[in-house]
Amino acid sequence: MSKFLKRLPAKLWMIVCAAITLAFFANDFGLVDLQETALVLAAGIDRDGEEFSLTAQIAVPKGTDRTTGGTSSVEIEGRGATIPECLSDIYARTGWVPKLVFCDLLVLGETATRGDVFDCLDYFLRNEYIPDACLLAACAGSAKELISSASAIDDTSALALLNLFSEAAQKSGQVVPCTLREFAIGYFGESRSGYMPYVRAQAQEGSEQGAGGQGAAQNAEQGQQAQKVYSARETALFSGGALTGVLTSEETFAFSLLLEKVYAGAVTADDKTYVILKNKGGAELVKGGVPGLALRVECKVQIAGEHKAAPPDELAAGELSEEEEVRLSQTLEEHIRSLWQACSEADCDLFFFRRSLRRASRELFAKWKELPLSELDVRVHARAKSLR
């Protein structure tokens, strides 16, 4: 007993320390006061003269029963000379502390992308509480309108937009997402270039008349606002932080192939659709004389569909003839050339030629860093082979 009492103070001290250590690692036990906090799911940024306007899509609980449960959102706009001032404006208007830790998407409106976008993106890089894995997108028109639009597929437009950038969408080759980290590395590097998906919203046909069921109910709730579907098949090109060009959907697909991201993505040539089952590609620096780039794509493909009826044995095989292989290779080469043309016109070093040059040799970089992209010797090679 006396031994126990002797050791008691030390044990109590140890228990106090353990409890305190637990508190030290506890992060307020993860409690978030929803009455005081705005969970920002996505933000849209527009420029209005010298001012910025930030539209935050804030998650609000919709209800608790099975019919009304789920996530709904409200859009609040804040204005100011800088992004933090916009957020303070939102705080002042709503009394909610904007919490950006769940912000997975930043949409830049047309006005914001006319100048150097890092005068508004710098805040997101500086702030330790905003994830650098947050996705970026540019959009046609105003970001506020896009963020505030009623999606035909989800109650919250941000979630519908994020669906466009899913892993599966990337593998289809139709979209090339870009995180804040990737964009910032490109911007602050030697190439000073970058890209991000370019989003367009289109009115869903028939939505104004009011679709049945849930859609009709939503329309009623949203004051008959036309429901939208979104497309991010185009890619915005940036040079020096400003938008300088937009890649078409074919060029975006070619870019995906060069990034080796396509798996089970489809490409159409001569009324036949081919599915890409193995994709190798890349952009390599070519040294010697005037340095250049070699853009190479190799893929294994299968016929996925064609514009005519075919006998069962052909359907079962899905193989390409040699002629079809050549024709598809040519089509891919055309897309890649067109992609390069768009990049050089936009002065966007999309394949980080200057960065590769610096990594290859300091002498080469010093000599050729000012070389215009249009004067580069670019070799394009695309080879599509049938899966046999």
């Binding site: 001290w13 690692f25 506890a26 509480y129 650098d132 602050f188 990594r359 290859a360 300091r362």
Partner: protein, 362 residues
Amino acid sequence: MTLRPRQILFFLAAVAPVGKLVLLPAQLAGIAGNDLWMPALAHLLFQAALIFCVLLLARRERTVLSLIRACAGGGCAASFAVLYALFLLFCAFLPIVEQKVMVRSIFYDTIPAHLVFAPFFLFSAYLACRPLPALGRIWDILTPVSVVCLIGLFLLSAGSCDFGALAPAGAAGKAGFFAGTAAAFSRFSDAAFLLPLVGRFRYERGFAAKGVLCYLAGGGVLLLFLAVFYGVFGEIAPLQSLAFARVGAFFPARGVVGRIDYLFAFGLAFVMAFYAVLPVHGAVGLVCEAFGERKLLAPLLSAGVNAALFAAVYLLNFYTVTVVSLFSGTLFWVFPVFGALVPLLLALLLGRRRDRGGRRAE
């Protein structure tokens, strides 16, 4: 003999490298760019040599103070203990400030109250007055935690890492290398941390070489981490001040499983908390040994020292950048003078096992 030799090896291999993962990577990236690993390599080699010397000193199987006492008298030993304890507290200050910055940024997702870090000092006060076997057992526990968490972070960051960003080597030039080396002195004092442990464990044949190998193995992991860190962030690496909590955030399944990298980051933060307390423990231990009283003096001293550190950390709460630049800039010379020169001199003067007459030294 209170520590087991393997516990020292565990500390060198798995705990010491973790203490350098908070602000150092971004700071080195800001100074030396893609050559950030070079100053770190220079320090690792230098520290490995110093650790070899300190561990050779341990062959005498007597504490540093008893060796000084035998050689230069009790007064000299007591003065050395007080001075060296002050140096160890000086070494402890920057890791504690780093811990505070890390806790406020990583454990919380909006800016928390300033006092959230205060409990650390209670934890430190408790640990710093514990006897050495407690420290050894902690290293036994921390080693697997550190290994698993580092492996986890490396795996999660592998997909987003571009090692090409480290090319071309030498781009920062000599100026970048020397500036980076000077700035990193404040984070590499591992040999100095070992000095109070000399004579507290049984020296085995070849232990100094084993210690160096373990330290270099841990150092290799640190270099790999720096390479991965720069590979993930490239040009924006200087902005990523809390490196270990950032590198694992970009794995593809993040959208599905969430930030599981935080599990590993929390594990490493746990290891770091003990690393930050080690110099405080050393300082308390040295003074207690010098004045021959442990039972009462150790808790009082530990409480006093931690109260002083608490006051200093919170008085300088809004001067974190100044503190970091003071330690890694203006006052960087303090670290090589006390952290390198003193262990080296002690090893040279007191490290011989036998005197010239061939008799075993006292």
